[in-house]
């Protein structure tokens, strides 16, 4: 574990050196995703300044939901972006074989190989939104809330990574796994809004099937003092469950790869 952490550090520093070679590109990439989120927030603002509430949620409350899911997304974007390109950049080119002749875990190698700066924009926008929402709503920033926030964001990030890992593992069969990942990943759009605006089916799906709800709605509800019961605390459990499921899928895909070589 310690070895992997320090190794990640080395990979990370090397990646930063590469990124710093092209500073302008770094800045464009790092800020680009924030434009998408700003567009979404702006649209929300345009609408919500004209109505008292969205299903009982004020603008700032919705921003908290939006902000939390944006931070969670940024975690997978920064640290696990290579899952998207596993198929066409690593498997098809044969580059993946390189990982298998090295004395480290291939999944670790894949993820460590490229820290993706494109996620930084989302991290900044998400953090700004959460801070703005919490101060506007006068949520006291205590050690307990800070801890809860950190856990919530890590949970959200883990859920994003788990779902991407699950879908990316199809690359061992399909080579181009991007459409599959794209499909599941995009359902996070639902989690930008309070889940109460949707029907029962969608709510259940976003809680148990594609559990992005734990990346935004449930922790936000808890912080806002809205009663969501045990769901306020179940996020980490769900994240662990999905992570282990995804890791099994990865292992299964890897076994397929090592027996067919395709």
């Amino acid at each position: 574990m310690r070895r992997y952490l320090s190794l990640y550090g080395v990979f990370f520093v090397q990646r930063l050196k590469i990124l710093m070679e092209y500073r302008v590109n770094f800045l464009i990439g790092a800020t680009s995703t924030s434009f998408l989120q700003i567009g979404g927030v702006l649209a929300m603002w345009v609408v919500m300044r004209q109505i008292p509430s969205l299903n009982g949620w004020s603008f700032d409350e919705v921003l908290l939901v939006f902000g939390l899911v944006t931070i969670s997304e940024s975690i997978t974007h920064m640290f696990a972006d290579n899952l998207w390109t596993l198929g066409w950049q690593y498997i098809r080119s044969g580059e993946f074989d390189r990982f298998l002749v090295r004395p480290i875990d291939p999944l670790f190698h894949l993820l460590a190989d490229r820290f993706c700066h494109d996620g930084i924009g989302n991290l900044l926008v998400g953090t700004a939104l959460v801070v703005k929402a919490m101060s506007a709503l006068h949520i006291p920033f205590t050690v307990a809330t800070a801890l809860y926030l950190v856990i919530a964001v890590l949970t959200g990030g883990a859920i994003f990574i788990a779902l991407n890992l699950l879908t990316a593992s199809s690359a061992f069969w399909l080579v181009d796994s991007i459409p599959v990942t794209f499909l599941v990943y995009n359902t996070y759009e639902f989690a930008k809004y309070p889940l109460t605006i949707y029907g029962r089916g969608i709510r259940i799906a976003l809680t148990w099937l594609i559990p992005y709800g734990f990346a935004s709605f449930y922790p936000a509800s808890y912080l806002l003092g809205r009663n969501v019961g045990a769901l306020a605390w179940m996020g980490p459990l769900v994240a662990v469950l999905f992570m282990s499921l995804a890791y099994r899928a990865w292992k299964f895909g890897l076994a397929h790869y090592t027996s067919t070589g395709s």
Partner: protein, 336 residues
């Protein structure tokens, strides 16, 4: 004790057989018809510590599938493979620490980083102690001339420089077994020499075992006392380079210089005509079916011969013959 040992090593790929065209694609989708292809078929060999072995065969003969099984990337369908006493797939990480691999033109180095940074990262991955790392850099200096490369990003290197860098990165953790796939492909003569010197030096100095796949005869002649030839998944030769000629050099070429034109001549049995010049006749024959004197007699009966010469096959022509699939016909016939 052998360092590498394979026994009846076999890898069978199951592929979907597809007829051409859209209809074929649809059919393959609805009711796929599978076909088993043995990429490697019951291959057994042993390689001892400190050997350099050339592993040759045409593209698709099963070379890279074998290497993938030796490195632990692929699991064999049947048979067994052991490297340094381990199963390279089951004990992948332990195996990976002691082997090094160069995969042709694919680089393991980070494209945009100066070489020294890539090398340091590789050193960290293999946990090379810092003092040892510095020592090796010094050792490699003489033959690879690393100092001029250290601060160049890989993307700006020439092919030869890239391969030197690649080799240094592959050997920085002092692997006991090294797999080199086409290490001199596309390089000029000088660069090739340098790479070969380095491989020889590592082999002699550190006792590194080397399995080399190459299409370059120079590599084989200069580096490999022993050669393993694989064709259509099967091992067809394993032995010293010298006896290849004996074994596969069944064909001889005989050339006649004549005073008259050779165009009308009736060819003796069991030979084929190669060159077609007016006053020169070159014939190729199988020495297990006929002899030089029989052919010479048949020719001299028809035409006045000024001079004639008999050519022994060189390794190059034998390997060419192997690559053109000429060895399959050898298998079909009883060997003398």
């Amino acid at each position: 004790m052998p360092v590498i040992r394979t026994e009846q090593l076999t890898k069978i790929f199951r592929v979907v057989r597809k007829e051409p065209g859209l209809r074929g694609s649809l059919k393959a989708l609805v009711r796929p018809r599978f076909e088993n292809i043995a990429a490697v078929n019951q291959v057994s060999f042993e390689i001892d510590a400190g050997e350099i072995v050339g592993y040759i065969g045409v593209n698709g003969a099963g070379k890279s599938t074998t290497i993938k099984m030796l490195t632990g990337i692929l699991v064999p369908t049947s048979g067994s493979v052991q490297v340094l006493g381990r199963d390279p797939h089951r004990q992948r990480v332990a195996n990976a620490r002691e082997i090094g691999a160069v995969f042709g033109q694919r680089t393991q180095l980070w494209w945009d980083l100066p070489f020294i940074e890539s090398l340091a990262l590789v050193g960290r991955i293999y946990e090379v102690p810092p003092a040892r790392y510095r020592q090796l850099l010094k050792d490699f200096e003489d033959t690879l001339g690393l100092s001029e490369l250290l601060h160049i990003p890989i993307r700006n290197m020439s092919l030869g420089q890239k391969m030197r860098a690649e080799l240094a990165a592959t050997l920085i953790h002092e692997p006991r077994v090294v797999y080199l796939d086409e290490p001199t492909i596309g390089l000029d003569l000088l660069a090739k020499e340098r790479i070969r010197d380095f491989i020889r030096e590592q082999n002699r100095g550190r006792g590194t075992t080397v399995l080399l796949t190459t299409h370059d005869l120079g590599d084989i002649e200069q580096l490999c006392p022993r050669v393993i030839i694989i064709d259509a998944g099967r091992l067809i030769y394993d032995g010293p380079i010298a006896t290849i000629k004996e074994r596969f050099g069944r064909h001889r070429e005989i050339t006649f210089e004549t005073s008259e034109a050779t165009t009308a001549i009736e060819l003796p049995r069991d030979c084929t005509r190669l060159a077609a010049e007016p006053h020169r006749l070159t014939l190729r024959f199988d020495r297990t079916r006929t002899t030089a004197s029989q052919i010479a007699a048949a020719v001299m009966e028809q035409i006045e011969v000024l001079d004639f010469s008999l050519a022994e096959p060189d390794l190059a022509s034998i390997v060419r013959q192997i690559y053109q699939g000429g060895l399959r016909e050898v298998e079909g016939n009883p060997r003398s």
